[in-house]
Amino acid sequence: MNQILLRGKNLSRQWGGLLAVNQVNIEIFLGKIHAVIGTNGAGKSTLINLLAGEVPLSGGSVELLEQDVSLWSEPRRARLGLGKSFQKNTIFPDLSVFENCRLAAQARHQRPWKFWETINSCTYSRTQAQKVLLKTGLHVLSEKKAGLLSHGQKRQLEVAMCLATNPKVLLLDEPLAGMGAEETNRMLNFLNELRPEHGILLVEHDMDAVFQVADMITVMVNGAVIACGTPPEIKNNKDVQIAYLGVAS
């Protein structure tokens, strides 16, 4: 279970005089949930974007499934097995829930030159979409327009689309944002179900949720890591207490 799926070494990102991410090291293991927490502007989302390849690195390197992917484009990393869900909903509102997942699944089976074949003839993407919808419990809404879903369902669909691309590593940027208690619990259970087959990087503001599911927690302040450890270690870390509460308890 100690297989490293994703490794970021000395990751840095600079915008002019602002060092958004400063020499961050992070490792995502198979079967583990690694949470990244920090105050607003700590660089959590930038870290996810650096790992996903959406933002180019100013320094450091990224290894995905034992391959150096530092210079790879975002789509190429995604095709190798990196799934990313966004902080804000980025679903396709005019398409049905099923169509959203099918489009995501199509990313692994693109074949764009086969213009004479309709999308319905692609068995892989259809099966994969149905599988993911069943797994996430969204199958009952598969024909509904994605734009008409509730906020919680949209967040669920966001993760479902991410899963439809068949990733090994999931980078989840605030998947619980705006969710009620019941929806949060459902999502946390779902993340636990995903654990055996994936490595998960979770960026989240909901501390109760983070301490409930995470195996490892990295704490960031001003672009740098101030602590990294298991939930009990982080709870008792003085630097973290100072960063969050202003004083050590």
Partner: protein, 331 residues
């Protein structure tokens, strides 16, 4: 294929096959011209309606297709269609490849301006230069041969040839939009960021769509040159890019049928406002009437003519419900 799509194609085919029996030479010429513009509008629909790329330089590909057909026709003898048409398509597609490769690195308003700039560059290469025949343009001396002695000339023959081309383009784009490639384009139009995160190399998808669009505009340009037997630099000007953009907006973005409906409606409106019988001396200012109508249509029909049915389905029940709630007054 949906029933409504099949119905539309059958109606269109029946009308277009039947019309030459009862049409005058003028109407036949008008129909041919409008079908050519429908093909041209379909080329832009692929970019704007299906991919979300607002290209303001589409006339360049149309003009290049037309000029290639004329410039590569032999002056003393007929040239083969099998050579001339692919050449016109290739030239337009090649220019689209160059323009697309560079302009697709920009987004939004910059993309619009870069495509316009490239079209203007092509315009000034042709305009008032020996290559483009000066400001007057060039004549096509001999129409191409299709097979043995069968020459692509005569208004009826060109009319049916254009009709076949229109249906082939419609069929091809219909196939394309329901394929995996077409689905990916829709995804790019709605949310490119998400598409990249899922693993789609969106740049290459957009470039291929751009080249296909250029090639189809090249077909329209070729047909235009065949119809009139003459080309002038104005077919590369930004006015034509604007007009074809208006056609697809008028018809309704995101639907292939909308582009065809838009092209026909635009041409009808143009005829209407140019009519001296109806508008008298005001017909000289036909651009004004056409412009006002287009402004009104955009304001009242945001989804274009193709979206009227949806709009009515949504607003009519609401209107009727409110009407029933009005207090009844005794007379």
């Amino acid at each position: 294929m949906k029933k409504s799509q099949l119905f539309f194609l059958l109606i269109l085919a029946s009308v277009l096959v039947f019309l030459p029996q009862i049409s005058s030479e003028y109407v036949l010429d008008w129909l041919t011209k409008t079908m050519i513009f429908a093909i041209f509008a379909l080329s832009l629909e692929l970019l704007v309606g299906q991919t979300g790329l607002v290209c303001f330089g589409q006339s360049a590909f149309f003009g290049i297709g037309a000029y290639t057909a004329v410039l590569f026709s032999a002056k003393v003898d007929h040239t083969y269609l099998g050579y001339l048409l692919p050449l016109a398509i290739f030239a337009a597609a090649l220019y689209a490849l160059i323009v697309g490769a560079l302009s697709l690195r920009t987004k939004g308003v910059y993309f619009i301006m870069v495509t316009l700039a490239f079209a203007q560059m092509a315009y000034y290469v042709i305009h008032d230069t020996p290559l483009g025949g000066g400001t007057d343009g060039i004549y096509l001396y001999h129409k191409p041969i299709i097979f043995r002695d069968l020459v692509l000339e005569g208004s009826i023959f060109i009319y049916f040839f254009t009709t076949i081309c229109l249906f082939l383009v419609l069929g091809f784009l219909g196939l394309l939009s329901s394929s995996r490639f077409g689905r990916a384009l829709i995804g790019i139009k709605i949310n490119e960021l998400r598409m990249r995160a899922m693993g789609f190399e969106t740049y290459w998808y957009k470039l291929v769509a751009f080249v296909i669009s250029g090639a189809i505009a090249g077909i329209a340009g070729f047909l235009f040159a065949m119809k009139d037997g003459f080309v002038n630099p104005e077919i590369l000007s930004w006015h034509l890019s604007g007009a074809v953009l208006m056609m697809i907006i008028l018809g309704g973005l995101g639907h292939l049928r909308g582009a065809v409906i838009g092209a026909f409606t635009y041409a009808l409106l143009e005829e209407l406002f140019r009519s001296e019988i109806i508008f008298g001396s005001f017909s000289k200012n036909w651009h004004l009437g056409l412009g006002l109508t287009l402004i009104l249509s955009v304001a009242l029909l945001p989804k274009g003519l193709f979206g009227i049915r949806d709009q009515l389905q949504k607003s009519l029940p609401l209107y009727l419900a409110n009407f029933k709630k009005l207090p009844k007054t005794k007379l």
